[in-house]
């Protein structure tokens, strides 16, 4: 008994101790029996007496000793029983096998784990528990154990009665008898299926953490980085090894340092901070907007020892959000009415532009149907539009009308977009409506004005035509018959009559010229030709031919730069040059007329100038000379109708040019005008 206890105290396995106790009991039984058989009755009696005497002798002492021994024994027994119970009831399978694999012990844990009762198990070989693919391993294990190798524990698999294979952690002890001869193997087998699952789960989590796109870091309270995942490597550009030698401060942009310090202070002070938005600085100096989720790491005593933080790059999301919110603001504050309606015409969105334009507040509008905005005469159009849109027709924008809360009709330009849900099903119509009432009104006014102008032009042309035919006819009668009278009766009446007839003829002739000039002027615009390339050199020589008589008569000297090609109406350009040169010759000063024509390019057009040495024009008349029938001199001195420069102005303006004068009385005149280059 003592030896059992001793062996227990010496730390040997419970099984071994238990087994020894059993074998000891067996030994004692065996040794006492042969003795009894060999003794005679007398000897037996004598022996008994001796024993009795000894017993009496030591009665008192024995009694005390026995009782002591029995108490000690009881305590040991109880201890062993407790241990046996522990072994028996352990959740671990506790088994013993001999070297042939025969199972010799089987606890309740084994019963539960493998499904075999103790009775079944004790008739079985341990091989029944070995899955086919572990047989080799099992044999090898046995061989090595017998060979004396020290094998304490390892992981393997076992097969249950109902065919399930599961993972176990096995701790083995070689059992030896008193002589030290190996007699079997005790093993404790623990079901580690759950633990393995947990391990796998942890490994998975670790992988997730490692490979996360979020930066996951741990820092101690001094800010030293002690963990750095791949997400952090990618996000901030520092490798793990770089990061682990660095301080978290390196990631803090200068303007966030105070915030970071404050955050640490508050966290250590015990404040609950779980997540917040901040910025980080990458290795290459970029600023990254991050959403940071932090977890305080505490030691066993509850003291904060570090901070784990998960940081997500929200730069893009922030940008999108900002963009979206800007768009929302744009939509909300747009002066255009932006609305959404479903296919029943119910209004589901209504911006401020719509409020202003139509007079309904958002809350009023959201309870209303779009039909309320449709003027009675546009109801059919609106229905047709909806029908066509639903039918799939592509309608993007059109002009229509809307009626406001206070009953005003607005012209609008409407741009529509069909809204679809995720599955592509149409769910409504977004429309942007612009108030074009003013534009439409202005356009109508413009159209009206244009029509008026056209009519007035036509009337003017009609007038010119009337002037040419119906006024010339009576004029010709007057002039012709006056001349006939003059021809037939000159000298037959008195001298007064001759003089009067003379004035009458002269007046009729002047009137004829004026009517003709007026006709030409009015036809400049209406009978103008489309602009073509015109060589001004050719124009000039035509004019010189036309004015040949006058030039010769006045002994005029005309010089010119080389003249360019322009774009225009040749007939009119001849008239322009001719009128100006005619004037230059006509309004002659004291000397013979000297005229110079020059030209220089300017911004895709040419500035022409015709300079003379004539009588000049007082600047106060610079504008007036271009007005039709305005004359600065009496016809007796300088004949003319006063229409020549008005014609020039009209011709230049028809060529989208300008005409102006530089002159001083007595110092000659220069006419400038611009014509487009060819």
């Amino acid at each position: 008994m003592l030896s059992i206890i001793d062996s227990m105290k010496n730390g040997k396995s419970i099984i071994t101790a238990y087994s020894k106790k059993k074998s000891l009991k067996a030994k004692r039984k065996g040794s006492s029996l042969p003795k009894d058989k060999s003794l005679t009755k007398l000897e037996l009696l004598g022996e008994l007496a001796r024993v009795q005497k000894r017993m009496v002798k030591f009665e008192n002492l024995d009694l005390i000793a026995a009782s002591e021994r029995s108490a000690e024994h009881k305590r040991e027994e109880a201890k062993i029983r407790r241990l046996a119970t522990v072994v028996r009831d352990s959740n671990d399978a506790v088994t013993v096998q001999d070297f042939e694999g025969q199972i010799t012990a089987w606890n309740r844990g084994a019963e539960k784990m493998y499904g075999y009762s103790e009775e079944e198990a004790l008739r079985m070989n341990i091989g029944s528990l070995t899955p086919p693919d572990k047989e080799a391993e099992q044999k090898d294990f046995l061989r090595r154990l017998i060979a004396g190798e020290k094998i304490a524990s390892f992981e393997t698999q076992r097969l249950t009665k109902d065919g399930r294979i599961f993972d176990i952690w096995m701790t083995v002890t070689k059992l030896v008898d008193d002589a030290g001869k190996p007699i079997g193997i005790a093993s404790i087998e623990r079901d580690i299926t759950e633990r393995k699952k947990e391990d796998a789960r942890r490994r998975r989590l670790a992988t997730v953490v490692r490979d996360s796109n979020d930066a996951i870091t741990i820092q101690d309270l001094e800010g030293r980085i002690i963990a750095w995942n791949r997400g952090a490597e990618k996000m901030y550009g520092y490798s793990e090894s770089e990061a682990l030698q660095a301080n978290i401060g390196r990631l803090t942009p200068p303007d966030k340092e105070a915030e970071q310090k404050d955050f640490l202070r508050r966290l250590i002070a015990g404040e609950e901070i779980t997540s917040f938005e901040t910025q980080r600085l990458t290795k290459d100096g970029r600023l990254v907007d991050v959403w940071m989720v932090v977890t305080k790491l505490v030691d066993a005593a509850g003291k904060v020892i570090g901070i784990a933080s998960t940081e997500r790059d929200i730069t893009e999301r922030k940008r999108e959000t900002e963009e979206a919110s800007r768009m929302v603001t744009v939509v909300r504050d747009s002066n255009d009415a932006i609305t959404i309606q479903d296919f029943e015409g119910r209004i589901t969105a209504w911006n401020r532009g719509a409020e202003k334009m139509y007079g309904y507040s958002e809350s009023e509008a959201l309870q209303a149907n779009i039909g309320r905005l449709t003027p009675p005469d546009k109801v059919a159009e609106q229905k047709d539009f909806l029908r066509r849109l639903i039918a799939g027709e592509e309608i993007t924008s059109f002009e229509t009308q809307r009626i406001t809360k206070d009953g005003r009709i607005l012209d609008i330009w409407k741009t529509v977009t069909k809204l679809v849900d995720d599955t592509g099903k149409p769910i409504g119509i977004a429309s942007t409506e612009r108030d074009i009432t003013e534009r439409v009104r202005a356009e109508a006014l413009l159209k009206q004005t244009l029509e008026d102008l056209k009519r007035s032009n036509t009337e003017l042309e009609q007038f010119a035509y009337v002037a040419s035919h119906d006024l010339q006819e009576p004029l010709r009668m007057v002039a012709s018959y006056l001349q006939l009278i003059e021809k037939r009766y000159k000298g037959k009446l008195d001298s007064d009559a001759d003089e009067f007839i003379g004035y009458a003829v002269n007046g009729a002739m002047r009137m004829k010229t004026m009517i003709n000039d007026l006709l030409i002027l009015s036809r400049l615009a209406t009978r103008g030709k489309d602009p073509v390339q015109v060589d001004c050199q050719v124009v000039l020589s035509t004019v010189l031919t036309n004015l040949g008589v006058a030039i010769k008569e006045k002994n005029a000297e005309i010089t010119s730069d080389s003249l360019p090609l322009v774009k225009g109406d040749e007939t009119q350009l001849v008239r322009l040059f001719q009128n100006l040169m005619e004037n230059a010759i006509k309004f002659q000063g004291e000397d013979a007329p000297r005229i110079h024509i020059s030209c220089k390019p300017q911004n895709g057009s040419y500035i022409f100038s015709i300079r003379d040495n004539g009588i000049g024009i007082d600047p106060q008349y610079f504008e007036r000379v271009f007005v039709v029938f305005q004359r600065l001199h009496g016809t007796d001195r300088y004949p003319g109708t006063g229409i020549g420069l008005a014609m020039c102005k009209k011709i230049v303006e028809r060529h989208r040019g300008k005409i102006w004068i530089e002159s001083e009385p007595g110092k000659g005149t220069t006419f400038y005008f611009t014509l487009p280059a060819a």
Partner: protein, 151 residues
């Protein structure tokens, strides 16, 4: 030549609504000392009746030359011109447009309708005399006219 023109009287039809102009033309012909047989139609309808010998013009001669004004009452000169030039019996008769109009459109349109020439009446009497003389001289003395074929 000159003898021919003197001996041979040419029939001229003047289509002119303005009596002043008619008289003036007659006076100018007198001034120009040109002797011709001049008939006058006061408007387009009368001119066509004359040419077709209708009504009062049953005995009218087919003219050798027509002097045609453009602006006429009832049927205007352009229509008269178009009718003459599209009539197989009349189209050979030379038509001289004698008008106050200087309008390019009128000129172009007249030639498109096969007018033989276009003359704007000068306001000045001397010029007018010269023009009438020239016309008479050209069409009566110089030009060989087609023989008159009676339908």
């Amino acid at each position: 030549m000159e003898n021919d023109s003197v001996t041979k009287l040419v029939d001229v039809l003047l289509v002119e609504d303005n009596p002043g102009d008619v008289r003036l033309t007659i006076e100018v012909l007198k001034e120009a000392k040109i002797l011709n047989k001049l008939s006058v139609a006061k408007d387009g309808v009368e001119a066509m009746d004359f040419l077709h010998k209708k009504g009062e013009f049953q005995d009218a001669p087919l003219p050798d030359l027509v002097l045609l004004d453009l602006n006429l009452p009832r049927k205007d000169g352009r229509e008269v011109l178009a009718e003459i030039k599209s009539d197989p019996d009349l189209k050979r008769i030379p038509v001289v447009i004698l008008t106050t109009s200087q309008d390019e459109h009128d000129i172009l349109k007249s030639y498109n309708l096969h007018a033989n020439c276009y003359i704007t009446k000068p306001v000045d009497l001397t010029q007018f005399i010269a023009v009438v003389k020239a016309v008479e001289n050209f069409w009566v003395s110089i030009v060989k006219l087609p023989p008159k074929i009676r339908p």
